[in-house]
Symmetry: D2
Subunit: 313 residues, 4 copies
């Protein structure tokens, strides 16, 4: 049995020390430190690690952190939604997202061509630039072959990007597949559609990506998941891994809770009833905004993994 320890600040506290000391504070602080310890175990045991996140997190400054985690070898596969892809590409082409307010005048924003995501703003110009780039990109892909799975397509796009903070860039460079089961749900999808209007034999084969995600890992390997938020990113990763025997390690960071039965709020315990997470797995759930909890979990884990030489140089 461990006991609550009084938290006190000292001037020279490192970020990892802070995160570690929250473990003895209680409530979600304790869950957070537990999550960090499970991430460490994932890498120590050589587990294949799935990282899943929603697109609003890529609107935020976590985008560069996801890229860094791929670069450091923490993530072996990524599952996300199409907004993440769009915004990673926008940012890689130099576009910036402004920090505004949750209580903005949305009428005025619309008038000036600004789109709000929580307290962050994306300009219509970023979408226009993205549209122009997509024309070139899809033409190049099509010149190569007519039918693409999503993960193949995202890899090709990643190879064209050079931004050191880009998720797709590091994913392509380090052979980390990026899955996006709802590829048509956004501007990317609209551009696929427009391109297909002029190239009737252009085809995105979402079914065959099932094979690619199954091949990411095997029944016998240790498997771990770091799952940020919910939605199809979360479900696709845990459902496909179920077919390979389920996860040995699971860390959920989310704002949702289970009372309304949503998958986004489904706990790691609920996942055990499905076999998505093994009964004897190490699992933790941290409730709170991921822009705060995820950096904290990871600074603690990275500090330890760096010390043990378990990060890719």
């Amino acid at each position: 049995m461990s006991y609550v320890k009084d938290f006190t600040w000292n001037k020279d506290m490192t970020a990892g020390e802070l995160a570690g000391s929250l473990g003895s504070v209680g409530f979600q602080g304790t869950e957070l430190a537990k999550a960090a310890a499970i991430v460490e175990k994932m890498k120590e045991t050589g587990a294949k690690v799935f990282l899943t996140f929603t697109s609003n997190m890529v609107t935020s400054g976590l985008r560069g952190f996801f890229a860094q985690l791929i670069e450091l070898g923490v993530a072996d596969a990524v599952v996300t939604t199409v907004g993440s892809v769009e915004e990673d590409i926008m940012r890689a082409s130099g576009e910036q997202f402004a920090i505004g307010s949750f209580a903005a005048n949305d009428f005025a924003l619309h008038e000036e061509g600004t789109n709000r995501v929580g307290n962050l703003y994306i300009s219509n110009k970023s979408y226009e630039k993205f549209e122009a780039a997509m024309g070139t990109t899809l033409a190049a892909l099509y010149a190569h072959k007519k039918t693409w799975t999503v993960s193949e397509m995202l890899r090709e796009i990643g190879l064209t990007l050079s931004d050191p903070h880009s998720i797709l860039h590091h994913a392509a460079k380090h052979n980390v597949p990026v899955f996006c089961p709802a590829i048509t749900d956004g501007a990317f999808g609209f551009h696929l559609f427009m391109f297909q209007q002029d190239h009737k034999d252009f085809m995105v084969d979402v079914v065959r990506d099932f094979q690619h995600i199954l091949e990411c890992t095997s029944h016998d390997e240790k498997k771990g998941i770091i799952c940020l938020g919910g939605g199809v990113s979360k479900h696709y990763a845990i459902f496909t891994c179920l077919l390979n025997g389920g996860f040995d390690y699971a860390v959920y960071l989310t704002t949702s809770q289970q009372y309304a039965g949503s998958l986004s709020g489904a706990t790691t315990s609920e996942a055990k009833s499905w076999g998505k997470i093994k009964d004897d797995s190490d699992a933790a759930t941290v409730i709170g905004d991921v822009t705060i909890t995820f950096p904290l979990v990871m600074v603690k884990a990275l500090e330890e993994l760096a010390a043990k030489g378990l990060l890719r140089q």
Copy 2:
């Protein structure tokens, strides 16, 4: 300016009266009555209505209500996730989902082949029966043609179902398209994949469904959305409608809130910054579990619409 009215119970209160009187109670009660009034307006103005929901709501008894709303002509298009499709088919084939507990022993449930969704249980046997049916279904589809959009496929399946509480049945019968942008994210997707392994030219064209959803409505028509929960169902409907000028009427029922920037918690105001909802639209957001709030909103709206002869006979 309207004022708070003291709520009092009387013995002969109808369900619609209850919902209506909540409008003068305040807080979410007021939002709920406002949502009902907006749904009424949608139908009075002849707006095309999109109904979106997540699969956990189909696990619940709202499934039959969604089917009834299609039958009554309230919904002109449906967007959902693939779990909804799977579970509607299971239920249509006679399977039942048990009511259990949020605090179940998930280890024990897993041992006995029971999968938990909040406080509801789905048996492995229901999935097995579904798997067997999918083999036959996909063979029949393939015999007809090799490449399918998702909405075409779901319509064909709906035509084979006869359960009067089935969403797909009523959707097919009344020519209400069902869109499912992440069709591979679940057991249905796995069976598509298995079938494709043996039939290499079997193809699901998710890109072409973009055309179908755009054709559901036009720039000049009034458009409304009843959006339950978040995720890709919500985003696909509002994003594609944006391309047709955005919604005139919008009702969001959700448990999520905007502080973490998720699309699921994004408000109707945020949607206005994007043009997804028109600046001068009628919009309401009700925070709470949809299993409670949605029936309340709709009993009020249906009572009025029935009185005005605006429901399909």
Copy 3:
């Protein structure tokens, strides 16, 4: 084992039927119907029932419903915060609260003397009228005796009110004590302070009210609680009842959840670890805004209790 039933609407559905049918829908709908059944049991077994609520619910139209529940004999003791007392008195004197917006311009509201509680508005004039009345009220109390417990004081005030929708009126009339452990936390407290400035021997004895709440019930009696929201109202009722052996029946309706360790979000299970609720008690928790969930729970329970002749005529 019970099973999910497809919810369908029919024209003549009563409010109680609606609430009852939610029990077979799942998620919080199921909890809601369970809560209604437990309230019925409380009255069938002759349990003493504590009703606790926070002051924002009295700002809302639930105020008149609380009064009606006291009148109908559903509640045997009330615990609340001082804002409830203030606003019940304001409303009893004819003041009205306006229905506004959560997204109001609070600067403009302040300029015009309007105070916001969620989407409800209380005018400065209502506070001024309350202040004037308090002067007279306290003088009358003081003329009677110098030291008062809170529940005695609220009973005397209730006897002076005649509004049929007033909580204090019906509580006084039916000998239902109203406890308010933080009596100084609001305008009422400020007026007590101002009065004491001029009458140094005027004393509010909060300690002696402990005896009164303990005497509301005995160790041997059945005890039930209907607990709306959290805070001191909730804690005072469950803590004092613990001293009498804990509750046999407990229904919590709240928006808070347990992940941050707050009492407001503490579950009925957590209460069992303290003995606040008996291990073998009937208990249910419904998550959601009480302006919606509470009327639903109660219309179902009241319909049954009326049919069984268990309501006070």
Copy 4:
């Protein structure tokens, strides 16, 4: 206009750097960094600072941090609930609180005399020891005088404690008053009641504490509040300060939101409609569990304040 910056980890990151960099990440990270900046301003401008918190935070390891903040001169007045007082005294007498699980078997815990607060456990033995100490404490107070305000009483108790992590100890030592408007709502209240049974003239004067809290600050002074969670602690501080013209600086850290109209979820904007916070005040609200967000806000603020020599040595 500032822009989102990609967060990246580096080995030597201090805790303050981490918190600072979250400001450019977005969503609640941005609010968090804003909150830290406002706390800095409070001290730079010489504002009187109110610190309010709920008792579950004193169950957690934040207890020692609150004590440290008083010691460092960050807080000039404290408002809390009675559980905080009880548990600070227990801990000061050597009792420990165990770290357990949110999903504990509460029946088993009750059997073994363990009381759960979220994922933390308090033993019955700690309450028994507290009971014994209270007898002596109250006798000593009574020997001194018969009538006490709460803040006077808590100061006397604080003077008897020597634990360097005790809130009451540092508050008494540094003349920081501790207000507790609902002093009878817990075991402390029960012991007051038992003592009064034997000493009929023992009186706790809650009304006169109103004067003490009003005297903490003046209309002309700058005033700031750091408000953790909601309930009476929050309301008492902002209501009484309203009488002195309202706060110039306000930082709210909470898990509650405004949709149900509760005071706990009331925003700093809503507070402006009441004049509780000045229209032109600096205000920030961070949504999330305080065990995580509060240390982050403060490590950033303390780092800056230390550098500027604005902390008490």
